[in-house]
Symmetry: C2
Subunit: 497 residues, 2 copies
Amino acid sequence: MMKAYDDLLTRYADIRKLGLAGSILMWDQNTYMPPGAVEMRGEQQALIAGIAHERLTSNRMGELIRECSSMKDMSPEQASIVREIERQYRRASAIPERIVKELSGLEPVATQRWVQARKMSDFSIFRDSLEKMLSLKREVAELIGYDDIPYDALLDEYEPYMKSRMVREIFGNLRERLIPIVRSISDAVEPGDESARGDFPIPKQESFFRMILERMGYDFNRGRIDVTAHPFTSGSMDDVRVTLRYDENDIRPGLFGTIHEGGHALYEQGFLKEHYYTPLAEPISLGIHESQSRLWENLIGRSVGFWKAFFPLLQEAFPVMKNRNLEDFHGAINIVRPSPIRVEADEVTYSMHIMVRFEIETELMDGKLDVDDIPQVWNEKYEKYLGLELRNDSEGCLQDIHWAMGAVGYFPTYALGNLYSAQFYDRALESIDGMEESISRGEFSSILGWLRENIHQKGKLHTAEELVEKVTGHPLTEDHFISYLKRKYSSIYGITL
Amino acid sequence: MMKAYDDLLTRYADIRKLGLAGSILMWDQNTYMPPGAVEMRGEQQALIAGIAHERLTSNRMGELIRECSSMKDMSPEQASIVREIERQYRRASAIPERIVKELSGLEPVATQRWVQARKMSDFSIFRDSLEKMLSLKREVAELIGYDDIPYDALLDEYEPYMKSRMVREIFGNLRERLIPIVRSISDAVEPGDESARGDFPIPKQESFFRMILERMGYDFNRGRIDVTAHPFTSGSMDDVRVTLRYDENDIRPGLFGTIHEGGHALYEQGFLKEHYYTPLAEPISLGIHESQSRLWENLIGRSVGFWKAFFPLLQEAFPVMKNRNLEDFHGAINIVRPSPIRVEADEVTYSMHIMVRFEIETELMDGKLDVDDIPQVWNEKYEKYLGLELRNDSEGCLQDIHWAMGAVGYFPTYALGNLYSAQFYDRALESIDGMEESISRGEFSSILGWLRENIHQKGKLHTAEELVEKVTGHPLTEDHFISYLKRKYSSIYGITL
C-alpha cells in the first residue's frame, strides 16, 4: 500500500514541477519576454499544461488514488495529501478534452474582445464572447457537479470546499454592517492626500521597498523584485518572485503594492522543505492567500504603528517628505471614498465591489440573469451599494479581465481575504506578547513566526474552514473585520462608528 | 503515408517546444533566477528534458520514422526533415536510461570537482571524476557506433556527419600554415592596446552595443540583451536572447562579445516562419553556428572598414576616445600574442588551442592516453604549438568546463567555425557588389541578406559539408582563413606573411 502512496507522490511531484516551470515562464512573459515571442510562449505553455493535465488525469493516477484512499492508519498529513490530489484529479477528469480546448481557444479571443470593448466602452463588442464563455462555464459546472447551485462548482476551483450559500450569508451580514460605516465616513471630512504625493524618484522607491520586504522577512535568496504594469507574485517554495509598479508622483501604489505582494510571497516562501511538491506545500485557497497579502498591506502596512517605525526612514529616503508629519501621511494612506474601479478601491468599500460581482455571477450561472442585462444590473447595484452613478461600461462591467479569462467564481476570494485577514490578525494579537509594539519598532519576526507556524507551514493540511476554526477558535465571521474598520476609521476620521 | 509524416512533424514540434522552454529556463537560470532556486530549477530541467527524451525515443516515433523513410517522391525539404529526426532518434535511442542517469548524476559532481581543482590548480581533485566521465563517454561512443574511431560518435553530436579523419587532416594543414604566421607576428612590433582602454561607463557601453546590434539587423522585437558573467545566446526563432559582460576599463570584451553573440543570434532569428519547429528551423551544427558569430566578430567587426563607420560614433559616445585615432584602435583590437587561456586567445592563435584539445581528446577516447598523463601532455603541446611554458594546471588542462559537463567532441567546432567563416566571407564578397563599401558605411543589409538566403533560411536542409560545397563551390579548406590572416596581419603589423 505504501508503494502506491510513494508512486502517487512521485507522480504528483512531477505534475507540480511542470506547474512551477510554467509559473516561471509566465513570470518571464510578464517581465522580460520580447513581445514577438508571445505566440511561441503560448504554445510552450499550452504544451506543458497539457502534459500536466494528461498526467493528472491518467488511468494510473486514478488507480493509485483509489488504492491510497482505502489505506488504513494514515497520518493526518497523508490523509490530506491523498484528499487534495483526489480533489484535483476529480475536477480535472470531469472536463473532457473538447471543453478544455474550447476554453483555451476562447480565452485569447474573449480577452481581445474585452480589451477592445473596454477601450471603446462598448459592451456589445464583448457580449458574444462572454455569452459563449458563460455557457462553457455552466457546462463545466454541470460536469463537475454541485449540491446546491452551479456556481458552487466554479467557486470551488478558487476557494476549495467553500459554498455559495456560506458566501451569500456572510456577504449579507457584511453588507448590512458596511453600509452605515461607508455612509458615516462619506459624511465626514476626508483627509488630504498631499502628504503621499510629490517627487518620489524610482531608484529611491526601489531601494525603500526592498528594505521593507527585507524587514518583513522576505528571502531575497529565494526571490526577486521586478517591474510590471500589473503587480503579481509568482512561483513557490525556493523561487518566489514579486513584481511592482511605481508612480513617480505618488508613493502609495508602489508602496502598498510591495507590501501586498510581499504578503503573498511570504506565504509561498513559508512552506516546509520536507513538504515540497506535495499539497502540504501549497496554499489552501485564494481567499487564504489574499488574507496574507491584506493582513500585511492593510492591518499592518496601513497602521499607525507600522509608520512609527518607517515614517522617519521614509523622510530620510525622500526629501519631499521632510516637513510632513506622520498623522497626515497616515490619513493619506487611509482615504475612504466610494469609487467605480475595484482595483483602486480602499479596504472599506472594496468588499462592496465584490458583492456586486458575486450576485451577478451567481445569477448568470443560475440562468436568472441574461448577458444583455449585465450593464444595467451592474450600474443599478453600484448605485445601490456605493451610491455611484457610473458614466460608462468601461468604468462599469467592463473593468475586470476575469470573465474574459474564464475566471468565474474568483471574485469572492478577494473579499473573503479581507475577512480572514482581520480574524487571523485578532488571534495573533491575543497570542503574541507585545505584537503591535514590535510592529512599531519595525520588527516582524513574531507576527511572521506566528503566520508561519499557524498558516504557511500547514499548506493544504486543513481546509480553509478547518484552519480558521483551528487557529481562531470559531468559524469565519465578519465581526473582526468590522471591528477593525470601526476602531481604525473612528480614530482617523474623528467620528463614532 | 502523408498522415505518418504529419504525425511525425506534430510529435517533433512538441519535442522542440519542450527544448525551447528549457532554453528560456536556462537563460533565466543564468540571468535573473534567485540563487536559492538552483535545486528546484535542476529538477524542472531534468523533468522537461526527460519528457522530451521519452517522446523522442518512443516506439511510435520509431514506427513513424520508418514509415516516412520509405516515402516516395519526397521533396528535398521533406527528406532532410525525416533524415534529421531519424538522426536524433537514433542517437537518443542508442543510449539506455542507465547511462543517461549516470551522466546526469555525474555532471554536477564533476563540475564541482573541476571548480575546486581549477581553484587549487590541483588536477588530482578532478582526476577521478574525469576518468569516470571519459569512461562513460567511451561507452556512449560504442553504443552509438562509428566507422573509424570512437571519437567520431562524439564529434557527431556537435558537428553532425563530420569525421575525425577530416578534422585531423584539415587541422594538420592549418597547423603547418599557422606556425610561421604566428612566429612572424611574434617577432614583429606589437600594437599598443591603450586606445581601447580607459573609462567606458557601463550605461554608455550598453546603448552603444545596442545600437551596433540594431545596425547588424538583430530584431529586438524577438530578442533582448542582459548581463552575465559568461556571455551566451539562447532561444531560437521568435525568442533569441543575447547576454553580455562589460569591462568598465576596456571596451573590447563587451564590444566583441556583443558582435560575436549578435552573429549567433542572427542565425537563430533567421529561420523561416514556415519551417518553425522542424529541423529546417535549426542550426546545422555548432561549427556553422560559430562561423556566423566569428564572421561578424572577426571578419567584419575587427576590420578597418567596420570602424570607418563606427569609430566616429565610438568617439562621440566615449569622451576618452576623443584624441585617439582609428589606426591605433584597429591595432588594439587585433593584437596577436600566444597566451595560455583559450577564451582570451586572438583569432590567429585560437585554433592552436583547439588542436591541443582535439589531439588529447581523440587519444583519450582511443585509450592511447591515460588520464594521469593529461597535464604533462597538455603542457608539452602548448610549448610545442604556442611556445608557452605554462605555470600551472589552472591555466593549463583545467581551464575549460567542457569535460566536466561531458562535452567531449565539442572543441573542434570552434576552430571549424573560423575556417567556415572565412570561406563564407570570401564567397559573399564575390557575390555581393560593393559589400565592403557597404560595411564601411555601417550598412549590413546586403551581407545579412546573403547569409539569410544562403545559410540561415536553409536550417538543416543540407549537412555542413553539402552547404559549404553548395555555397562556396568547393569543400572546406583552410585556404580562405589563412589568406584572410595573411592579408590582414601583414597590413597591421607591417610585415610580409
